[in-house]
Symmetry: none
Subunit: 204 residues, 4 copies
DNA sequence: TATGAATGAGTTTTCATTCAT
DNA sequence: AATGAATGAAAACTCATTCAT
């Protein structure tokens, strides 16, 4: 086949994009390097020139997410806006936003399902995000805006609900349905945290 | 090798138990028939004497769940206890109970992760349970015991939270941690449904 | 399953009949002992009580043919009718007759196809029949009723044509087609052997 | 093991040649991919790099025949030589020729025996050749050079005799035997078609 | 005579990875 | 940087046969 040379970064990004799509569509285990290679129109060996293994490719994709998520998180954490409810809202909105951009791998079960043995690795992302959420909830309780006896556990559940919502929204096209799902989850957050009603109605 | 003959029911149950454990531990795709065979100490052909394929085994395991879950659900649905909160509590307790009995596959992501192409099949179980939960929530709203503008969506989230809790509890040994997680989820349910405080404190 | 006892001869005959049918339908290699066992409604072990192996069963079926064919042959060979054309006609008619009785295994390729490694064994039948035909042709030449420079080779081809015809007739239902095929083969025999026209018009 | 790289065409041809030989020797069903692989001295995966399955390999071998046979047939059909006897002779010679080149699969039963479920496919080749032969015989009758009341049936038998001869010759080394067999079949053709004696003495 | 659970060597196939060019 | 033929271990499954009851 004709030898098509591209800049390494371009090739690498292209392979990651193709791989990510296939991982989401068919799952990590049912996507073979050959599938990716075929779609990319490259030779068998070229794949291994860029990635040491299929696992290495997965790690690269996750790392990219980790970076993006870290960025979101630090933006929220370092934000001047002082109170917990707004911070929580921002994180929640960020996750919904990610779902719009089809950043498929982040989000509940799908991230696990996609990346076979790399679950521990993936959990880093979750743990990182979760600890931020827990910190926010604790802050909210301390500042008297949230009211709960189990801040860490509640934060965990709410975080999980957000991931769930993120996944649901990726599969829901109907705008009315989307609004209802978002509204229901916001009410749940407000009531669960004992916050002022309407505090979490975002503009999404 | 020495020939160990067992009754078909016994052998079949034994193989399903071993398989289920391995599916949970390593995932469906990373569990080979040979893994199961090795653990069971049988010959290659014996496995296929009982199950036509690896997929057939998966189906058998799921079917068993479907039966058990259906039993739970109909027990709750047909129960004399009249009000929605108690029914909801019973379903929730039932799911926690299942987790104690190590009925591993029921429960959020793990059920999906474990069973390759059988996702649609698994979703039947979820859909069945979910519709029961939605019905209960609607009943509660109608009877004035629950208060929510989005009964179906709320039911869906609460159901998902229950599955999440079920999974978490399977991985949590510390009794203090377990109590906290259960308590947090109960408070979440109560507040989300606008029910009387303490309504959902089960004895679990 | 209920234990159904039959006389050994009956069982054996039943199994041979079922096996023969399956061998013809699906071929020897694609018929498993389990196929036969299933159709017979017996247990796995029962099959091996009657036949030492699948091969042994094949041998038994062929032996039965060998006997039947031998009978036909000796009937023809010892027949009082003196001249070669009539003898040849009788053998040919006999083969056509066998085809009517659906004695499937005799007949050209099918006998080979059906019985995997037993080809040599099967060839005994052919060789036996062929030698009789060759003898008849030689007799016919000696008595001046046939005219050919290559009696043995001609006999071989004619014998093969008969087997071919036998096979064709088993697959031909239409009576007009059947008559044409038989007629064409008879003319071929007559002309090839330089016999009087009409000598071989049998009543079939 | 030492890695021996060959051009795809070479490897493919090599595998097909080895496979064909084994199919003829042991039969299709009793030849495993592993047999072919062992003889070729390659790795398990190399076989499947070239052929998607054992069946695919069979198809490839047959296709090659179909091409070769088609070539022969169209060469004869389009030949300037006008009369039917010569055309028939050419086809017959062509089949004998194929047998010399060890083009083993063409020829009666062996082609069926070798290729499991592919019988229908194989029959296409036969049907194609047969229709050409029938056409030639009809032409010969129309032009007054052949004399038969059953042109199609006679053509069918003669065609089958040719295939039989093709197979016999592949197993006959002795030149005297070969000549006799060819001569006998030629006389049979001449007499059967009521042609002038000596018309079909080819130089083979 | 008959049962049917159990065997195990073999077959067909997959796929992540390597390496000579 | 890129190629693509080749590798080999392991996965999934088959089936003729055995054996304790």
């Amino acid at each position: 086949m004709a030898r098509i040379t591209k800049s390494p970064d371009e090739r690498k990004a292209e392979l990651m994009a193709i791989a990510e799509q296939l991982f989401i569509e068919k799952g990590y285990d049912h996507t073979s390097p050959s599938d990716i290679i075929r779609k990319a129109g490259i030779a068998q060996g070229t794949f291994y020139y860029y990635f040491a293994s299929k696992d290495d490719l997965a790690r690269a994709i996750i790392d990219r997410y980790l970076d993006r998520v870290s960025e979101y998180v630090s933006r929220v954490a370092n934000d001047q806006t002082p109170d917990a409810p707004h911070k929580l809202l921002m994180i929640s909105d960020a996750l919904i936003d990610l779902s719009k951009k089809k950043m498929g791998l982040v989000g509940g079960a799908s991230i696990d399902r996609s990346l076979g043995g790399r679950a521990e690795y993936v959990n880093q992302i979750k743990a990182k995000l979760l600890s931020v959420v827990q910190q926010i909830v604790r802050q909210g309780v301390a500042e008297g805006q949230f009211n709960t006896d189990y801040p860490d556990e509640t934060a965990e559940i709410l975080f999980f609900v957000s991931l769930y919502l993120n996944r649901e929204l990726r599969n829901t096209r109907d705008p009315v349905e989307r609004k209802k799902k978002i509204a229901a989850s916001r009410v749940l957050m407000e009531r669960t945290l004992g916050t002022q009603e309407g505090m979490f109605r975002s503009s999404l």
